[in-house]
Each structure stands twice: as C-alpha cells, then as structure tokens.
C-alpha cells in the first residue's frame, strides 16, 4: 500500500510565509486550512489512502494555477492536483504533506458549438453537470461512469477514464480535441484546439491524457460530443456460464453493431452484493439462480426499428441458448434500475467492508479465469467478485474483506499482476497507476519504455 515510500528531504515544509503568499494571490477564501475540509481532501474515496496535507488551494483561473505552481516550484513544495477525488489508485490524495491544488472552483463552461458539438470548459466542471448542460443542447458526453456526480472532466482526462460508453465512442484520446495545461514551473501550454484534425507535429496533448497530474495541471479541456439520439434501449440478461457471455458479445458486435452503446457483465457474486447492500436493488430474475448477468444498451435514432432489431437479437440469443432469461426495460425508470445493478457495485462494495480493487485488461477468452483462480486461492477468507466492461475486455476484479489485512493482500499481490502480465494484459485498464501501482508498472511496460520517460 505504498507504505515503503519515504518522504524526500528535497521537498520543503510549508510555512506561514507560504500561506500568506497564497492568500495574496488567491484571496483568503481560497486558501483552506479548515480541519473538516482538509480531512475530506486527505482521504480517498475508498478510505484506503490517507495523506497529511495542511493546505488546500482553490484557484479560480489558469493564471492563478500558474502562479501557484511557479511559487511551489521555486520553494520546492510538493503539490498534488485534485479533481473530484474519486480516483481509485491513491493518486488524488497527498502521500505526505503535499499542497492540494483543487480545481473545484474552475467550473465554467466556456463555449459550446451546436454545429460541431465541440465543448470547451474548465477542468473543474463536474461530469454530471456537463451532461445536463449538454442534454439541454441535445448532445451527450462521450463518456459516462459511476462516479459522474463527483468526478471532474479534468480528472477524467488526467486518468484517461474509460467507463460505460467506451465500446461506442472510443477512448478520450479520440474525443478530447485539446487541452490547456500548466507545467510545474508555471508555464501555460495552450493546446486548446477545437479541431477534429490537426497534424502539425507531435500530438503533445495526448501525453496529458492519462498522465495523472504527473506532467502538470490540466486547466481547460475541449471535447467532441456526440448528438443525443432519441432511442435508448436497455436489456438485462442472464447467462449460464462465462462462455455464453463471450459468445453473446461476439454476436452483439455483429448484429447490433451500429446501435450497441454498452456491453457490461457481472457475476452472481456481484449481483448478491448489490441486492444485499443497496436499498431498492432487486434481481430482475428473483426465482432462479444464474451465474452471470449481462447488460446491453443500444442507442440509435429510430425507436421502432432499434427496438425491433434488439428484440430479434435477444430472441435469437435465447433460442441459441446463449441467454437463459432476460428482461427488456419498458421505460426509463426500468432502464435506470438495470443500470443501478451494474453501476451500484462499487458503492455496494464500500458498504460490505474493505476492498482490494484491480482493474485489468485481459483478452476476453481468459478474462474470467483469473476471478476463478483468485477465488480458489483465497477460499473463505474473502468474497471475490468479477464484473466490468466486457465489451472492452476490461475486468474489475474486486476482493471484498471485512477489513484491510496484509496476510490476504500477500495472497493477492503479486499473483494478480504476474497472472495478468503472463496473459499479456494490462494491470491498469482505466484507473491509472497512482500510488497503488507505481512500483508495479513493469508488469505492463518494458524497462526501456519506462526509462525513456523517467530519465528524459
């Protein structure tokens, strides 16, 4: 858990003069030393990583971010950028006493072009707020994830968040058209293009997508948003084994291709967890037990033909016995109920106790073997669950335990990383590296690649 990291003596400690300087440039209100606010900002969403920062800075514009970083750089004060603090790898909170630079006050939408669908906004805009802004304009965000009520677009870009719609709209490397970022020495890099195509040299903005604050602070983002289509259908299906889920995915890509917008899976252990811990969550198939569940969402422009296509696909899959049972949402609230079963897993895990989370890219055919191996390794000591974005070969392997326990951890790690590496997977599909996997990066990157970055 990063306990081995030592605070480097190279970094200075915060003093009163520093605080006074920040108050001068930001105003007193935006220099926060309040205990309650500090303790919330010092601890991550999972309550797994805890820092000891004494100061939160809340800049209101790029210039202030630049002045903060320039000063901190000259004083050798360590800094951690913080968005919505929903990151799952311990990257959003201080490790020691770093100054927290919170982007929350930079939450303005700067412009929206209704013809091209290009949105330019500040990094601190909360994802859900952008979604409702776009909804009024008839557009949607190309990404959606369970943390949307708190996470910020700057945090999403900095972690290259994947989420529920990646199977349809691709990764942020495709939809983010531009970024404005401030480097550690205060230099403002204006890469805030609003062009779909721009081949003038290196695509430098891509380095900031997924860099988790290690290269600078993202202050503005320009992003291409797809139009909102009127017909959305959601089906929740039961499958008898993992191989059926896999075949169903292949079929769905072929037969629903142009309207498929999500393909998610969960195992029965995940379903039990959600129905036991979340109020109002109920299994759509109360009378029979199924080993796996799949959520399929389609998004298209023609309600009747989309529904017909989906129904035909589902009935066919039932005849082929890929699907053992299924329900089709008849209205939006039923659709949200089905989504809640999938999106609520993280929350249910938090209610169940402590959790070790692994976010892995593994070729689909092997993906679930890891869950089964882990289950037999840990026996009764833990509840091992598997779910995730099957459409993107992304497994969320979660080990739920009453409390964090190093003995159990040593059973999980490094086994989980070795296994993933052996199957040529990635030990971080979408959550990033953070503090959690900083030392494990070699399981997924070659020595040469890491060296070129570190020693540059």
């Amino acid at each position: 858990m990063g306990g081995v990291v030592q605070r480097s003596p190279r970094f200075s400690e915060l003093n009163d003069d520093d605080v006074r300087y920040f108050q001068e440039i930001l105003g007193k209100k935006n220099v926060i030393q309040d205990d309650d606010k500090l303790s919330a900002a010092n601890i991550d969403w999972m309550h797994k990583y805890k820092g000891a920062s004494k100061l939160i800075l809340q800049p209101c514009n790029t210039d202030q971010v630049s002045q903060i970083l320039k000063y901190c750089n000259s004083r050798c004060l360590a800094v951690v950028p913080q968005g919505g603090n929903t990151g799952l790898v311990g990257g959003s909170v201080p490790v020691f006493d770093e100054v927290i630079v919170s982007l929350s006050s930079m939450n303005n939408i700067i412009s929206f072009d209704k013809v091209s669908g290009i949105l330019v906004c500040e990094a601190g805009c909360i994802l859900e707020n952008i979604m409702s802004f776009l909804d009024n304009e008839g557009f949607i965000m190309p990404l959606d994830l369970g943390a949307k009520g708190s996470c910020q677009i700057g945090g999403n870009v900095s972690t290259n968040a994947g989420g529920l719609r990646l199977v349809r709209y691709g990764s942020l490397h495709g939809s983010v058209l531009g970024v404005e970022a401030v480097l550690a020495n205060g230099t403002v890099l204006d890469m805030l293009k609003t062009l779909r195509k721009d081949n003038t040299g290196y695509g430098l903005k891509h380095l900031f997508i997924g860099s988790e604050g290690s290269l600078g602070i993202v202050t503005k983002v320009s992003i291409l948003t797809p139009p909102k289509l009127s017909s959305v259908n959601v089906a929740f299906l039961a499958c008898k084994d993992y191989s059926c889920c896999q075949k169903l995915l292949q079929e769905a890509k072929r037969k629903l291709g142009e309207i498929l917008s999500a393909f998610e899976f969960l195992d029965s252990q995940s379903m039990n967890l959600v129905t036991n811990h979340l109020e109002g969550a109920r299994n759509p198939f109360p009378t029979s037990l199924h080993n796996f569940y799949v959520l399929i969402e389609t998004t298209g422009s023609d309600e009747s033909s989309d529904k017909q296509k989906l129904e035909a696909f589902l009935l066919g899959s039932m005849e082929n016995e890929l699907v053992s049972d299924g329900v089709l949402a008849q209205d939006i609230s039923q659709a949200s109920t089905f989504w809640r079963l999938r999106e609520g897993i993280s929350e249910a895990l938090m209610k169940a106790g402590a959790v070790y989370k692994y976010d892995l890219s593994i070729p689909v055919e092997n993906l679930y073997n890891l869950v089964e191996e882990m289950r037999s390794r840990l026996g009764d000591a833990a509840n091992v669950i598997g779910y995730g974005h099957l459409g993107d070969s992304n497994l969320h392997l979660n080990v739920s335990v009453p409390r964090y326990d190093n003995k159990i951890l040593s059973q999980i790690e490094p086994f989980v990383y070795e296994w993933t590496s052996k199957h040529r997977g990635s030990i971080s599909a979408e959550h990033g590296v953070g503090l959690m996997k900083a030392n494990e990066i070699f399981y997924s990157q070659s020595r040469e690649t890491v060296r070129i970055v570190v020693y540059y």
Partner: protein, 251 residues
C-alpha cells in the same frame, strides 16, 4: 371473471418536460413515451388476481393514436391476455374516456375494472370516478391493497387517506383505481415479449362505439412553473437577520 385494465401512453416519467414555444402544450416529438406508471400498477394487480385463480382473463385497453399499440404490446408482454385499441387522434378528456370505456364494458362484461388513479401527463384523476358513476358501480379509489372474495363476490380495498387507512368493501362488479404503493410491477421478460407478439389486439373507433368526442374544456395556455431562484450562503447570523429584514421583508 374478466378484468379490464386501462393503460395510457404518456411522456416517460423520467423525461424533462419542455413547453412548446407557442404555449399550446408540451413538446412530444422525439420524446420517449411509456406506459403511465399508475396504469402499470393497475395491470400488475390484475395479473396477480388472475394468477391467484380469481380471474380468468385480463384485457388491456388503450385509447389514443396508433402508437398506443406499442403500449398495448408492453401490457401484453407483462402478461395481459389480449388488447383493445380505441383509435383517437385528438385529445381525449376523462369524460370521453369514461364514455368509451362504458361501451367496452357493455361488450366485454368484465367483473372488475382497474384503472390508475391518474395519468401523469394531465393529472386529471377523474376517469375512474366518472366511469363508476356512468356504470353505477361501486368504486374504491387510491387503492393500496386489494383482496377479492370470489364466493361472496366482494372486493376489499384499503385506501391511504390523510388520517390513516380506510377499508372499503365493494360488491362486484366494481371500479378500482390504484395508488403508488399497491404493488411493484413486473418486468417484461423475453419469453413473454415473444408470446405477446401473437396475442390479439382488437381495434375500435369512437364512432363505431357511438361515442361523440367533444370537450367542454379549452386549454388557454401552458407555461412552465416559475424557476426557483438560487440560494445564497450568508456568512453570519447578523447578515442573515439583515437580509430577512431588509431584503425579504419577512421580519
């Protein structure tokens, strides 16, 4: 015994409603339409009664444009045995609906009529009461519990009223309208969606039923509710008192 249930196609409960610029109504184009939630509850109750052996058939009725057939298909996929669509392309008001329904009752002779207490689009909450009046049947509105006694031909209905639960005993045939807490409607499963495709839907027009559609109402204007002003955070009790005194003029 047959049970007849009405199901209305309305703008989906979760959709954000927009008023048309000319204030004649709300925007329905490209907007998701679904079954009225109270009708869904009415249908669920009818299905449960049939499944417990107290009724032989559930007939779902929908009135409105041809797309109402989609709503009927949903009802059939939930488990209704057959559907009746009364095609009407202009607005229907509760009294017209009740008159049409009366004709259908004369044709089908159900022993029980279950309706939602209101439709979430116009919030009228009148149809159930009107049809009970027209048929001269007893009515149990806002039902939160329904128990049938087949031998005595009696329905016992609990209603949530302001000072508690009121229990009524109705002789059949009767009209029941459903409240939110009566039951939790089932989902449409794939096997039932499949079966629904071959269930019959009979079509009528108001003319065929000898009902003249007219309204005593004229909609003058439809407007959005006033926007809520955003709040302010005050920094001290003194400031709060000052604002209450001098800005809000309430103390």
């Amino acid at each position: 015994m047959k049970i007849m249930v009405t199901i209305k196609r309305v703008i989906d409960y979760a959709v954000k409603i927009r008023v048309k610029p000319d204030k004649t109504g709300v925007v329905t184009q490209n907007v998701k339409m679904s079954m009225n939630p109270f009708c869904e509850i009415a249908l669920e109750e009818a299905l449960r009664i049939r499944e417990s052996g107290l009724a032989s058939e559930v007939i779902a009725v929908s009135m409105g444009p041809s797309q109402s057939i989609d709503t009927l298909r949903t009802g059939l996929a939930m488990g209704a045995d057959r559907g009746i669509h009364v095609e009407a392309n202009h607005s229907l008001y509760p009294l017209s609906v009740a008159k049409i329904l009366k004709k259908l009752v004369e044709i089908e002779k159900p022993g029980l009529l279950i309706l939602g207490k209101q439709a979430i689009d116009d919030d009228c909450n009148q149809t159930g009461q009107m049809i009970a009046g027209l048929l001269n049947w007893p009515q149990g509105t806002f039902a939160s519990k329904v128990v049938l006694d087949k031998e005595k031909q009696v329905a016992t209905v609990d209603r949530e009223v302001d000072d508690g639960i009121e229990t009524l005993s109705l002789n059949l045939p009767a009209v029941i309208t459903t409240d939110l807490r009566l039951n939790q409607p089932r989902y449409a499963t794939l096997p039932n969606i499949m079966k629904a495709k071959s269930k019959p839907i009979k079509k009528f027009t108001p003319e065929e039923l000898n009902v003249e559609i007219k309204s005593d109402l004229e909609i003058v204007e439809v407007t959005e509710p006033p926007k809520r002003k955003s709040g302010v955070i005050v920094s001290s009790v003194d400031e709060l008192i000052d604002k209450l005194k001098n800005e809000a003029n309430v103390i």
